[in-house]
């Protein structure tokens, strides 16, 4: 079998079949989410401004970070918020991705250390703590790191990006507000494709 390449890391399927479920079972954490109540855009602004340097968000979420605290939490939040920033919907900081990532790290040995190492690379690339840069400067650092994913910097970026994706899109603002997902509910009937997006597709 040496000549048969093995699969690269696939996108984590959400919840469709037992294999997904089985894999997810061990890591339901991946699909787990921030505890913040639904944040509407107006509320998001408030949450965002409260984030840096104080514990208001932490108190609101009811979650107490266990592994990623202090300045490391600030660095992580800064990076995540550049990966998925606020637009017309909440961004990563708004929904408390740092809490979620901290919780994920408590469930997997070695994850916290990997995150700290990745953040250290970010700060090294930035020449100082990432939080001391402006958002546009932060973007420049992350752009440079992500330019070659096959390097240590690239792998560090990928780790932080993937964690951000898991945490943000499993939050209600990320999944429901941003993506419009409103499923996993009781339906009397399943209507299937009722849109006209498919019309003429095969012609």
């Amino acid at each position: 079998m040496a000549d048969t390449p093995r699969l690269p890391k696939l996108p984590e399927p959400p919840e469709p079949d037992r294999r997904t479920a089985l894999k997810g079972m061990a890591a339901t954490s991946v699909a787990a989410a921030a505890v913040l109540l639904p944040i509407l855009p107006a509320q998001a602004q408030h949450a965002h401004t409260e984030h840096n340097g104080n514990s208001s968000v932490q108190e609101k979420s009811g979650y107490t970070p266990k592994l990623i605290t202090g300045e490391k939490r600030d660095w992580l939040t800064a990076v995540c918020d550049r990966i998925i920033p606020r637009t017309d919907t909440p961004g990563a900081a708004d929904v408390g991705v740092a809490d979620q990532i901290d919780w994920l790290a408590t469930r997997k040995d070695g994850m916290a250390d990997a995150i700290f190492a990745a953040l250290a690379r970010v700060n090294t690339a930035a020449g100082r703590p990432i939080t001391q840069l402006t958002p546009s400067q932060q973007d420049e650092v992350l752009t440079q790191m992500s330019s070659s994913l096959d390097t240590e910097d690239g792998r560090a970026f990928s780790l932080l990006k993937n964690l951000t994706i898991d945490a943000y899109y499993s939050s209600k603002p990320g999944l429901n507000v941003e993506l419009g997902w409103n499923a996993n509910t009781y339906l009397k009937d399943f209507e299937g494709c009722t849109h006209d997006h498919t019309q003429g597709a095969a012609e």
Binding site: T4, R6, P13, P14, R19, L142, Y169, G180, E191, A201
Partner: protein, 556 residues
């Protein structure tokens, strides 16, 4: 009504049972249900306990899970853990072995794909000459497919193929998602028929059971039991006959053998206390799923059967078959940027691509047997894992994820792996489990036939994607998923007419030890490309009809 379930600690009197069944999944559950309704008293040993439906996380939203965990709430632990159920690959290629020890076994969380085998499958080895022929044909099993489908409820269409026999008993097929409509059209452009899926999900009330409410969370267990699972559909009715007793948490180690060389019962260990017990019966049905059944049989060594019970011909453990599969994702252009829909449906795909390579190959490649395809994950489903494969970050990345979210389509082709003598399960004393019982060692590789087939499977996916102008996510052509990931282990105690080359007859009865039956996936002569559960149910029903008749005739 008698006590239906009792702890191992109180089930210790040396009572002799008529039939003892090991395992409560599709095979064990069906044997128990069919025997008890025919008046046969059954003792069933299960390695776990009943999973309580009320504890399923079927309706826990992703953003609610952390809070639940922090409050000390947990979903059922369906799958076994390595400390409880270790296995090894002895330094060979990794094999992902997934087992569910608990009432209903893997049917609690199975994929529900319910495909009839055709004579393309049953006659395959007889025609191509690779390994031994099946001792049965479609006509032998068809009446049982009919009965199983009526019993459990299988939805599907009437668009059967020569490789996928139809059924008069399908429940209505669910409507297709937009992505599935587009895949179906794309397939048609290149001559690939993509038909309605066949799934054991109730799309209308059936036999007093509620229909599916389309929450899409089947993998967490169904809170209303709207898809077939052995615990609710087979064991509960069997209890009502008053003829079924279950011992929970009974991890079976060995089949006991009497002085006549017949099975006499089993030795098991209480999963929690680790106490050893023995129970006795006239007939032993080993239905613990392919690998565990094989482990039990190979560990059942005696003076008469030094190589494991019923294994004088060294067949048991060999010819382990699984399936090769891979996954390609992409985006349907018609759906990019459209409003997100509720694509949950019945969970998993509503379509299926039956094997067609025997008619219209994409190439001149030569290989035996064939492949089909599934399509789960097509549509908008929860957390967008695909985003990890998109480049960039920032607002444009966020917008790109949103634009692609409703447009995801997926293909998951499955190909048959031939039976190879050296693909096998062994046991030895070098590694034992917590009960001191030798663990299974799995040695599995695919061969040139599968590698050739996989290339054509990629050809097929690329052709369908091209026809639909579907933009694929990056994939590595030729890659296959981890061995065992299909969770379709077969053939390590295969049936056949040639007693020198098979372990069972066509009724899943051991050639060498007539009061042992092995009706699970281990009994299959070949693996096919199809999901096996419907066929396991049909074969187990047929086997238990035969067993009941043999009991009545006094032959067992």
């Amino acid at each position: 009504m008698m006590l239906q379930s009792q702890s191992a600690a109180v089930q210790r009197e040396p009572q002799r049972h008529r039939v003892l069944i090991v395992g409560s999944g599709a095979a064990g559950g069906m044997m128990a249900w069919n025997l008890t309704r025919q008046g046969v008293d059954v003792l069933l040993l299960d390695a776990g306990e009943k999973f309580r439906r009320s504890s399923f996380w079927s309706h826990v939203k992703p953003w609610e899970t952390r809070d639940r965990y922090l409050k000390g709430q947990n979903p059922p632990q369906f799958t076994t853990t390595p400390d409880l159920a270790p296995y090894s690959t002895k330094g060979g290629d990794h094999f992902e072995l997934i087992r569910v020890w608990g009432r209903g076994g893997k049917t609690n969380i199975w994929g529900r794909v319910s495909l009839r085998y055709s004579d393309l499958d049953f006659e395959g080895p007889a025609k191509d000459g690779w390994e031994i022929p099946w001792p049965i044909r479609y006509k032998d099993v068809a009446p049982y497919y009919d009965k199983v489908e009526q019993l459990i409820g299988v939805c599907g269409g009437d668009d059967d193929q020569d490789s996928l026999p139809g059924s008069r008993y399908h429940l209505p097929a669910p409507a297709l998602r937009c992505g599935e409509v587009l895949l179906q059209r794309a397939g048609a452009k290149v001559g690939v028929d993509i038909v309605s899926g066949r799934r054991a999900v109730l799309t209308q009330p059936h036999n007093g059971r509620a229909k599916c409410h389309y929450c899409g969370a089947c993998g967490h267990g169904c809170d209303v039991s709207a898809f077939f699972n052995s615990s609710d559909y087979l064991l509960e009715p069997a209890f009502k006959t008053g003829r079924l007793t279950i011992i929970d948490n009974a991890v079976v180690a060995r089949v006991l053998v009497n002085e006549k060389g017949l099975a006499d019962g089993v030795q098991y260990f209480d999963r929690n206390s680790k106490e050893e017990h023995k129970v006795y019966a006239d007939v032993v049905v080993v239905a613990a799923s392919c690998v565990d059944s094989t482990r039990i049989l190979l560990n059942s060594k005696s003076h008469k059967y030094p190589n494991g019970i019923g294994n004088s011909n060294d067949v048991i453990g060999r010819y382990l078959s699984e399936q090769v599969r891979f996954h390609v994702y992409g985006f349907a252009p018609e759906l990019l940027g459209t409003p997100t829909r509720n694509d949950d449906g019945i969970g998993g795909e509503h379509i299926y691509m039956p094997r067609f390579n025997h008619r219209r190959p994409f190439s001149n490649r030569k290989f035996l047997r064939g492949y089909g395809s599934q399509f789960w994950n097509t549509g908008a489903h929860g957390v967008p894992g695909f985003a990890k494969q998109l480049g960039g970050f920032g607002a444009s990345f966020k917008a790109d994820v949103k634009r692609r979210y409703p447009a995801l389509v997926a293909m998951h082709p499955y190909g048959e792996v031939l039976g190879y003598k050296d693909n096998r399960i062994t046991v030895d004393e070098s590694q034992v489990d917590a009960f001191g019982v030798p663990i299974p060692h799995i040695h599995f590789k695919v061969g040139e036939n599968e590698r050739t087939m996989v290339q054509e499977m990629y050809d097929m996916v690329e052709a369908v994607f091209a026809a639909g102008k579907i933009e694929p996510l990056p994939y590595q052509r030729g890659a296959i998923d981890v061995y065992g990931s299909a969770i379709h282990e077969h053939s390590t105690c295969r049936m056949g007419d040639d007693k020198k080359r098979s372990a069972l007859n066509g009724f899943c009865q051991m050639h060498e030890v007539k009061n042992v039956f092995v009706p699970d996936g281990a009994s299959f002569t070949t693996a096919s490309e199809k999901n096996p559960t419907l066929t396991i149910l049909a074969l187990a029903w047929r086997s238990s009809d035969y067993l009941a008749a043999e009991l009545k005739r006094g032959n067992l």
